[in-house]
Symmetry: C2
Subunit: 233 residues, 2 copies
Amino acid sequence: MEETAPRKGTVTQRAIERITAMIREGELEPGERLPTERELAARLGISRSSMREAIRALTALGVVEARHGSGIYVTRLEAGDLLETFGVVADLSRGPRLVELLEVRRVLESTATALAAARITPERLAEVGKHLAAMNATDDPEEILAHDLAFHREIAAAAGNATMAAILEGLSSRTFRARVWRGYQEEGAFARTRREHAAIHRALAARDPEAARAAAATHVDAVEEWLRGRLRD
Amino acid sequence: MEETAPRKGTVTQRAIERITAMIREGELEPGERLPTERELAARLGISRSSMREAIRALTALGVVEARHGSGIYVTRLEAGDLLETFGVVADLSRGPRLVELLEVRRVLESTATALAAARITPERLAEVGKHLAAMNATDDPEEILAHDLAFHREIAAAAGNATMAAILEGLSSRTFRARVWRGYQEEGAFARTRREHAAIHRALAARDPEAARAAAATHVDAVEEWLRGRLRD
DNA sequence: CGGCCCTTAGTGGTCGGACCACTCTCGTCG
DNA sequence: CGACGAGAGTGGTCCGACCACTAAGGGCCG
């Protein structure tokens, strides 16, 4: 009698669990190449189609990466790889949930900025300063936005917590900024944003974590409050 | 000449984007049923196999849910649905990244606990108290862990930010607690944990947000420090 | 007449096989 | 010795068949 049969769920679901288990147990290392689809399918006793679905699911989760003609590879499994999906949340969120996301961002961003104030290197601080200057030197919203994102990204990186940085990155996803940021800036918040960015930069330069935390919190809170007000319509 | 062809990426990838776009643009509402696989495939001009892979990917992301024999449905798109994948991150993280995750948890958990102190209802506070008592009334690690999780889950729910609660939930995933919590408690941290939980409960009962924040931060920090020390080996 | 059961159409789940597109290696040729 | 080209191997796509399950409808029985 065959000893194989865990009969719960779809075969694809089982395949997903088997592969993640192999990775979790260290049987597969980050960056390592998996067996071929055909072999994996045979090994688990399922069809190639079902195995492909399993692999597609893991690809979507950022656990695995398929390279056409070459093979399937485990990603580096770093925060950035796995948390890319976080952007999907922001993309599909509307209404009150956008406020919740901003609340999370406020908490994490202010913490990251405080950490950065304590740890940032002069080189990176200069980089932050560059984005600040570039932001103030143009009127093109697209360019401003690009430097705005880079400004915060640089700070998050300086905080030294890649996981936190990856989450914050997800909270600035394309749709999110299109839906929130654009509306916010259209109401003439440029000047305010500039002041707040300057305050953050000042706190970083002064290596003052608490000032940095407060400045970042205020910065996000401004958007948060604007959005709250807008949702009341 | 056909006007269809965006020739970038795999057809499956395009299908994923098309479907998420339909949801994002409100063409598909949360909970609504999608067309059948066969029809979706025909509509996008791809094979059913490829469409199934797209749907499987979206299922993994918690965007969509397939019910055998019935159809494919958009999930409610609430934080819990979309952030279930967050557990995968915790599951596959090792070494230094576990510390980063705890750092994120400390930040969010302390904030959530502070919010809860201001907002918690008497009923829910009683519930929290129950889990605290249950935790202290047994020596079975499994039972303790279950009430420990419920304790924090109840608090997170009381904070009123479902997104935050969902992230915290992911940070307590099965593997995570097996890998970290177990080792921590084995070193006789029970007494300490009890004291910290009691302090959190006291702060909640006193409706003192700042005390609650500090107590929660201390609580997580204890685990964090233990793990840091352990990683030095 | 009302309620239960069974049929049945329709859905997602699985399978196998065929072929295409791409990558990488290795042996050949200049 | 180097460029390059053929071939084997890989993921990507498609097709068509069948299975497992759901839900709704119609007919039977009480």
